[in-house]
Amino acid sequence: MTYKIAIASGKGGTGKTTVSLNLFYTLQKQLDQKIQLVDCDVEEPNINLFTKGELHSVSDVNIKIPVIDSDKCVYCGDCASACAYNAILFVKSISHIAVLEDLCHGCGACTYVCNQPDVIVEKDKKLGEVNVYSLENGNELVEGKIEIGSAIAVPVIGKTLKSTDENALRIIDAPPGTSCPVMETIKDVDYTILVTEPTPFGLNDLKLMVETMRKMKGKFGVVINRAGLGNLAIYDYLKEEKIELLMEIPFDKNLARIYSEGKIMVDEVPAIYEKYVKLFDKVKLNLDEANSYS
């Protein structure tokens, strides 16, 4: 199997990382093949806190940003008008030009439009890195991480996904929210598991994610974490929208404690392991069905 399965949620803190980890350890027991855990929550990657693998490769994620030679510049302003990010500060009257590096997305438009030789050269700017850790059984964690203070996450996510092994089953932990980092993470996956909780906040953010999934025409199902807290409105919503409920994890202080200590629930609680076995059966059924039609 070489499926890519993403774990996402509009709301933060619903249990994405918990589900990613427990699904991974469940499959590690069940399947005799390479599995990769992929951490695309590049602002706050947490999976490594639990898996504690051995780091075996680090690669930087860079973008190319411009360096403008103000001695050779003829102050035409073409580069500043080409820049969609207001990252080039240009004041013609006083012949002033400067690159605002934090705003630059590294698209290359300024370099492309500059018609003077050698005025703009490009240098690397580090946005983050992709770390690969060895886990048990030849499995791996591929982790993306942005530099603190960097506002650009998407290229780091893109490179993290590109660094994964196409022959492995990949379990991908997505960032929270519904904006560009999430889209980048799930745009090419085979299936997305949406994790939510049965509270008004959980329901509202689930609705946003369902809208996102439908816009992207992606296959998805829902896991309800902390079942028993809050109210039942979320179950009515799933029924009305004909969305598959894949699994429920009960709210339980003991489970919360296991997570808080960095331990893995499926290793500690057999009933939870059974739930994850069934979860994957359901996901696989969806994936195999989709494959047999195509």
């Binding site: 509009g10 709301k11 933060g12 803190g13 619903t14 990382t17 590049v42 602002e43 706050e44 947490n46 806190l49 639990f50 973008i63 190319k64 080409a82 969609a84 990010y85 997305h105 590294g106 698209c107 290359g108 438009a109 492309y112 439009v113 603190i148 203070g149 960097s150 506002a151 650009i152 996450a153 998407v154 290229p155 960032p175 929270p176 929210g177 519904t178 904006s179 560009c180 980092p181 999430v182 889209m183 745009k187 509270t199 008004p200 906040f201 509202n204 953010d205 946003l208 996102t212 816009k215 992207m216 807290l229 809050g230 109210n231 202080k253 919360a256 404690r257 808080s260 200590e261 960095g262």
Partner: protein
């Protein structure tokens, strides 16, 4: 005027529940929900929208296949891997396009136009706690940082006009683009964390980020009794970083029950220990 923000690094630690509790306590304030990706504060404050505005979130490239000659120049230039050949036709992915307009500039036959993305909106509202500025980012849209800056500017302007003393801001999770826009220029940040390995790790990255800003930071440990040992470790981390822990709040179902009833926890259980504790925290934040 003083700007106070509630942030967390990790999602789901209780930012919005705590912000709404402060909304019950604080006098003469304006509320701002900067979690424009997954805004939830409105579920508690139930705003009446007075004005709804379109927000120009940025442009994306749209290609006219009738004009396009499939020369491949744009595909080669695009650094966001947004352009590819699909069944012999050059195609731009709206999900990958960053809006840089290099393809529009370079296209020799003018087959590409930049088109405004108008899915995002921002709102000026009234609530039982006073005015509120909030927004809804279009699905999968870029530039949530810019939208955050926009609604904060509106709130600050309104605060000045109406002589409002406090701008109370509910922040987004993470440490990236929208968080940077949220922290820029604020006076006080309350970092809400939880006693889990993830909560502590994410707090640490947030503390590092906040060092780049001129603001006074405090920490609140929510659900501290779920793991008192890690809670102690967080306190040790805060001591080392010279950050004061203003409160250790025990796990309390009142937060969820209040939410289900569309109330702040202070409205739901005004006489509770929890409400008293949060009132003390607010008094400290306001004083500094």
């Amino acid at each position: 005027m003083k700007q106070i923000v509630i942030v967390s690094g990790k999602g789901g630690t209780g930012k919005t529940s705590i912000t709404s509790a402060f909304a019950s306590i604080a006098q003469n304030k304006i509320l701002v929900d900067c979690d424009v990706d997954a805004a939830d504060l409105f579920l508690i404050t139930q705003p009446t929208i007075l004005e709804s505005h379109e927000y120009e979130g940025g442009k994306i490239a749209v290609l006219d296949p009738e004009v396009c000659t499939n020369c491949g120049i744009c595909e080669e230039l695009c650094r966001f891997d947004a352009i590819s050949l699909v069944d012999g036709q050059t195609t731009i992915s709206e999900f990958s396009c960053d809006g840089c307009k290099l393809c529009e500039i370079a296209c020799p036959v003018d087959a590409i136009k930049m088109v405004e993305n108008m899915d995002s909106r921002w709102f000026e509202s009234e609530t039982r706690f006073g005015p509120m500025i909030h927004a809804k980012l279009g699905i999968g849209e870029d530039n949530s940082g810019k939208l955050v800056t926009k609604i904060r500017d509106i709130a600050n302007k309104k605060a000045k006009e109406q002589e409002i003393e406090t701008v109370l801001i509910d922040g987004p999770p993470g440490i990236g683009c929208p968080v940077i826009s949220t922290l820029t220029g604020v006076d006080v940040a309350l970092m809400v964390t939880e006693p889990t390995l993830s909560g502590m790790h994410d707090l640490n990255r947030l503390i590092e980020l906040a060092k780049g800003f001129k603001l006074k930071s405090y920490v609140l440990i929510n659900k501290y009794d779920l793991n008192p040992n890690i809670s102690d470790e967080i306190e040790a981390l805060c001591l080392k970083e010279e950050l004061e822990v203003l409160a250790k709040v025990p796990f309390n179902r009142d937060f969820v029950d209040a939410m289900v009833n569309q109330k702040t926890v202070v409205e739901y259980a005004p006489e509770s220990e929890l409400s008293k504790m949060l009132t003390e925290v607010w008094n400290r934040l306001e004083k500094d």
